[in-house]
């Protein structure tokens, strides 16, 4: 997506530095203040993750590496009313794959997945405490972005879902290995194999969400939590995180392989077409 990189506005005037304390793209923006990095997602309609979002996330990841020595926390949130993130941009995925030979499309999907895995692995392993402040739709790739964070703070209207099976796919942004790492195989099977969505209360009951707050309060609660984290020694917090939160590298690699194997099947194109062309009032329901 040419032009996206140029759209990132570096507002601290030090373009040559990795330590970009402020940045703004068409679909996200970030800032660092008082040791807390805030990443706001703001792509219409609900922060769908496509090539433009990925390029901007990569820019953010580069900036994060430069900022993390000056930060103790990262808060990721959405400025979009419908929710945190509705997942991968299925329309773009369908349209791009239609314009290519199958082998080329699968290659493109693998490259996309490897790039987004690099970003999410970096967030997952960042030596600062990461918080996803979520509301509304937190589906598919959006759920997977939240799972890369250390803590999830949810508005009581948040819903979580892995809808990928309806397309003949599995989640591809690292969601299965991370959910299995954090909660166990039974929870993964429930959400993955039924495709059902769960609300914030249920998500807290199963240990996914650390705090449930009132409508519109997730960011405020995340900021309060981030301020609390600043009272602790940064190196100790980083050591504790590294000890308790290993990155499931082998399973993450295997997930990409399985996704690409499944993506090559005709059923996936049919599923994507059905979703893209759907006039059903409930296309999100499994």
């Amino acid at each position: 997506m040419p032009g996206v990189t140029k759209d990132i506005q570096v507002t601290d005037g030090k373009a040559e530095s990795k330590a970009l304390s402020h940045g703004r793209g068409s679909g996200l923006s970030w800032s660092l203040a008082d040791g807390v990095i805030e990443l706001a997602l703001h792509r219409e309609p609900c922060n769908e993750l496509g090539s433009a979002s990925l390029e901007e996330l990569e820019k953010f990841a580069t900036a994060l590496e430069g900022m993390q020595a000056k930060a103790h926390a990262l808060v990721i949130h959405s400025a979009m009313k419908p929710g945190f993130c509705a997942g991968a941009d299925l329309r773009e995925l369908y349209q791009r794959s239609q314009a290519m030979e199958k082998a080329e499309a699968v290659k493109g999907v693998r490259e996309f997945l490897e790039r987004i895995h690099r970003v999410l692995n970096l967030i997952d392993a960042a030596p600062l405490t990461t918080i996803a402040a979520v509301h509304g739709v937190t589906f598919g790739g959006g759920f997977e972005l939240a799972l890369a964070c250390d803590l999830i703070i949810a508005d009581k209207m948040a819903r979580f879902c892995f809808p990928e099976l309806r397309l003949g796919l599995i989640p591809g942004f690292g969601g299965i290995p991370r959910l299995k790492r954090d909660l166990g195989n039974a929870v993964v099977r429930d959400l993955l194999l039924t495709g059902r969505s769960i609300n914030a209360t249920k998500a807290q009951q199963i240990g996914l969400v650390s705090q449930v707050v009132g409508e519109g309060e997730a960011l405020r609660a995340a900021r309060a939590t981030a301020a609390q984290l600043g009272k602790f020694d940064r190196a100790t917090a980083a050591a504790a995180k590294k000890f308790i939160k290993p990155i499931p590298q082998e399973e993450l690699r295997r997930e990409i392989d399985i996704f690409c194997e499944l993506f090559a099947r005709p059923a996936v194109q049919a599923g994507l077409r059905k979703f893209v062309e759907s006039t059903d009032a409930q296309p999100y329901l499994p």
Binding site: C46, P82, G83, A86, G136, V137, K156, M157, A158, R159, C161, T194, G195, R196, S197, I198, N199, A200, T201, K202, D280, A281, Q282, P283, Y284, L285, P286
Partner: protein
């Protein structure tokens, strides 16, 4: 425990309040997509509101094909 009629009445009240529609405009057999003018994402909002209010879990696949308040109330009543 609520009777089926109480559950239905509470659903109509919640939907009216959440989507800012006069309560008297909502009838049990209305197609809520049309009456409320809501899309799929807003339907999920309604589902979450109802789950939180009635303290139930309603798997969203059970809502496939459900478009009127009375049937929706029956699905919730079965889980109370």
């Amino acid at each position: 425990m609520n009777t089926a009629e109480q559950t239905l009445d509470e659903i109509l009240g919640l939907a009216a309040a959440h989507f800012r529609v006069p309560r008297e405009k909502l009838r049990p057999d209305d197609d809520f997509f049309k009456t409320l003018g809501i899309d799929s994402l807003q339907t999920l909002d309604l589902l979450t509101k109802l789950e939180n209010h009635f303290r139930v879990e309603l798997p969203d696949y059970e809502l496939q094909g459900v478009s009127d308040f009375r049937t929706l109330a029956g699905k919730i009543q079965a889980r109370l």
